[in-house]
């Protein structure tokens, strides 16, 4: 297993090479370096997985936790230190596969998507940096290493969102993403500090006595850490950065803001799952409620967005919230008894990464073809982009939860876990799953069916109503369709992976079995939602759509504006913090603190101006003062004597 260090080293090297001397490289070479190193990483990741899971279970029926590397990087006092190492256990190995797969797909895809862009080398450098940090995050042996890479991930996300640095929107979005997640990281950090102080270590594996001693503070610490996770995973109300982050290049959205980085929060909770379940089950349930609310909120908002990437972004928020809910509804670490959610969450993480990556890459191909994000510029694209159409459809079916596509299996497990927790939660999540199916097929229909925007424009051009000949949509080049096809295949079959065999809440083998009632109900709901969406959006605006649009105008407007949460945050940051705190402080500093010092100085000067005439150079005045002083001194001396 010693070779697994190369999984981290290669992307880092690639980043350094591309970052330091990329600007002088031809685009092809830069792309090749990035892609080849990532391919090697992917191969290594799969090898690690094969060896790891092939190595079989230990005596306790669990896969062993391997730590091939662990070095003290920065020692603090006592037993506290930041270590750097690699930890392999089922979830980290699974994450390695997810990250390397999606990342490789994105690397290949970007060869086509970013072709000829200014800063192509920079783009690949940042991709490598991101991959490095994300891989480092998942193999972290301790919470501090995780935090360290967590920050790096945040920065690479910042850099990639702001890749088009001449666009004001991208600048604002990148800044927002970084600051919002940084704000959440503050809580993460405090959580870590509490954890470290009470358990005397930052490691994930803490011995029982230490944990018992720290048990009163653990819920607080874990709760704070969850806030950090909520920031990265865009849980309400810290989700505001994710929709804006879509200003970045689309493959980046696929990689970072759909498949990998945004699930870091889920991964964090999963990583700390034994602690949560053992010492802070209440916090876990709070996570479930937060997740459920986020899922609903994002799903509703997704239904009315017009920018296709935003729909996908809110869909991502909603799906991640599903994973959070799945973790949150766990009541014990036994998969047969309340611990099902853990496996379901990880399973959904895996399948979601694939089909959401696919959706984003498909959306990228569409945007590439029509040069717009708005649904109004699309429509009827199925004729022009057949491969994209089919793969997109597969992904939509997967996310909607239609068997035999992968999303069905994972979502079904989540719903089952929710029903185990409480019926209310189960029903609630089922409804959200139905909304998911609805908005995905709304999107699908709007893009691929209905009136073709191109044809309308062409007609207008032919009728001499338009000067310019419209750009004809075309299928993406092979480097872009290849990843689509690969991901579509994975999305179709991933559901049959016996996931429970590899990952479960207590590490023991767990065979997935469908619960017929839940499955049938959810399939029915999904099919019904798809049908509604198809009726409403297949042929442009149908009567029902218009009816709904007119009667729910206020609600739709609010939902379109994401219920004004962004405005609220903007108000807090801009009006309260910037105008209400920062400016007064700056004013206070200049005028009160500095002003008082200046005042002291000017008063001294004034005083000295008054005193100055005494030093007129007139010896007679000197004499008077001298004599008066001498007399005074004598008087004092007499008085003292």
């Amino acid at each position: 297993m010693q070779f697994c260090i190369f999984i981290l080293i290669l992307p880092l090297l690639s980043f350094l090479i591309l970052g330091l001397c990329g600007s002088k490289m031809p685009h092809k070479l830069a792309g090749t370096i990035g892609t080849v190193s990532l391919s090697v990483v992917t191969i290594l990741a799969y090898t690690v997985a094969v060896i790891y899971f092939g190595g079989g279970r230990g005596d306790e029926g669990t896969f062993p936790t391997l730590i091939p590397y662990d070095y003290t990087w920065l020692p603090f006092a006592g037993t506290l230190s930041i270590d750097m190492g690699i930890l392999l256990d089922p979830i980290s190995v699974m994450m390695l596969i997810v990250i390397s797969t999606v990342s490789l797909m994105v690397h290949i895809y970007s060869l086509g998507y970013m072709k000829g862009e200014r800063g192509f080398q920079r783009y690949y450098a940042f991709l490598s940096l991101f991959t490095f940090s994300m891989l480092g995050l998942v193999v972290a042996t301790n919470i501090f290493q995780m935090y360290l890479f967590w920050e790096l991930v945040g920065v690479s996300s910042y850099l990639l969102i702001g890749f088009y640095y001449t666009s004001p929107k991208a600048i604002a979005a990148s800044k927002k993403a970084f600051i919002v997640t940084r704000f959440a990281d503050l809580f993460f950090l405090i959580g870590i500090l509490i954890y470290g102080y009470y358990t005397k270590t930052f490691s994930f594996s803490v011995n029982e006595t230490m944990l018992m001693a720290a048990s009163s503070m653990l819920p607080l610490s874990l709760g704070l850490m969850f806030v950090g996770g909520a920031g990265k995973s865009a849980m309400f109300p810290l989700h505001i950065w994710l929709p804006d982050a879509m200003e970045g290049p689309t493959p980046v959205s696929a990689l970072i803001h759909a498949a990998t980085m945004v699930v870091a929060g889920v991964y964090l909770v999963a990583r700390l799952f034994p602690l949560f379940i053992g010492y802070a089950p209440d916090v876990l349930h709070i996570i479930a409620y937060v997740g459920a609310f986020t899922a609903l909120y994002a799903a509703v908002v997704a239904c009315v967005q017009t920018d296709i990437k935003r729909v996908l972004a809110f869909s991502t928020i909603s799906q991640i919230a599903f994973m959070m809910v799945a973790l949150g509804v766990c009541t014990s670490s036994n998969p047969h008894d309340g611990g099902l959610g853990y496996m379901a969450s990880m399973f959904h993480l895996f399948t979601h990464a694939m089909f959401k990556g696919l959706l984003f890459l498909g959306a990228g191909a569409i945007i590439h073809a029509v040069h717009s994000n708005e649904k109004s510029n699309m429509g009827g694209l199925r004729k022009y982009m057949p491969i994209t159409h089919i793969t997109f459809l597969i992904a939509c079916l997967a996310i909607a939860g239609i068997p035999p596509f992968s999303g069905f299996f994972s979502k079904d497990e989540i719903l089952a876990a929710c029903y185990n927790f409480s019926t209310t939660m189960g029903v609630f999540m089922s409804i959200i799953a139905a909304i998911t199916a609805f908005y995905m097929f709304r999107l699908y229909n709007l893009i691929f069916w209905g009136k073709s925007h191109y044809e309308e424009e062409l007609a207008a051009y032919n009728a001499r109503e338009r000067e310019e000949k419209p750009h004809k949509p075309h299928e993406a080049p092979f480097v872009m369709t290849l990843p689509l096809i690969i991901l579509a295949v994975i999305s179709s079959i991933a559901g049959f992976i016996p996931f429970g065999e590899f990952i479960s809440s207590n590490g023991e083998s767990y065979s997935i079995h469908l619960q017929p009632a839940v499955a049938i109900a959810s399939i029915t709901l999904a099919v019904a939602s798809i049908a509604i969406a198809t009726i409403m959006y297949r042929k442009g605006d149908s009567k029902i759509t218009i009816y709904i649009n007119t009667h729910l105008k206020g609600f739709i407007k609010a939902a379109y504006n994401r219920f004004y949460i962004d405005e609220l945050w903007l108000f807090i940051t801009k009006k309260i913090i910037f105008n209400g705190i920062s400016r007064p402080i700056a004013w206070f500093d200049r005028n009160v603190i500095d002003g008082s010092l200046d005042k002291i100085a000017s008063m001294t000067q004034k005083l000295s101006n008054h005193v100055r005439p005494m030093q007129s150079g007139n010896i007679q005045s000197y004499n008077i003062w001298f004599l008066s002083g001498a007399l005074l001194l004598i008087l004092i001396l007499i008085y003292l004597a």
Binding site: Q620, I624, L627, S628, L631, I634, L635, I638
Partner: protein, 169 residues
């Protein structure tokens, strides 16, 4: 009887001196001021005589009255017009000067009155020239040959300096 005479003479002398001194500092004609100063200097010589320091009194008359006042007179004549009118200062400064001096004087007198000075035996024999010569030129303790020499050099330097400064360019 002798004592009373002494005191009367001292009183007259003092009155004369004080009056002359006051006149010297308030007279508006500078020539008159110099003349009044001359009276004070003579008075001082008289004081020295009353202490039986005859040589000192003689030196006072020769050097001060004979030398310095003559210098003053020369200077005043040389300067001529510039020295005739002495404008007094502002009232405030006048009063301030008066007040400070008065305060200083009263304080000093108070101190003199309240201090009991060590009194040795007052010798009415004066100082013999021999003793004086030995003291000035002697090299023992309480003798002042070094001071004397330094003083002569100082006087020399002053002479040279005065000539240099006053010389026309």
């Amino acid at each position: 009887m002798e004592e009373t005479t002494n005191i009367i003479i001292f009183g007259i002398l003092s009155l004369l001196m004080v009056a002359a001194a006051v006149a010297a500092v308030i007279s508006s004609k500078i020539m008159r001021a110099a003349t009044y100063l001359l009276f004070v200097l003579f008075g001082t010589a008289g004081i020295y005589f009353s202490l039986f320091y005859t040589f000192l009194g003689a030196a006072q008359i020769t050097v001060y009255a004979g030398g310095i006042v003559v210098l003053f007179v020369f200077a005043i004549l040389l300067i001529g017009k510039g020295s005739v009118d002495i404008t007094h200062t502002s009232k405030l400064r006048y009063l301030a000067g008066l007040a400070t001096s008065a305060a200083g004087l009263s304080l000093t007198i108070y101190l003199i009155r309240s201090t009991s000075f060590v009194t040795g035996k007052f010798s009415s024999a004066g100082v013999s020239m021999e003793k004086l010569g030995n003291t000035i030129m002697g090299t023992d303790k309480y003798n002042f040959v070094l001071t004397f020499e330094v003083l002569s050099i100082l006087l020399l330097a002053c002479m040279v300096g005065a000539i240099l400064i006053a010389r026309k360019k």
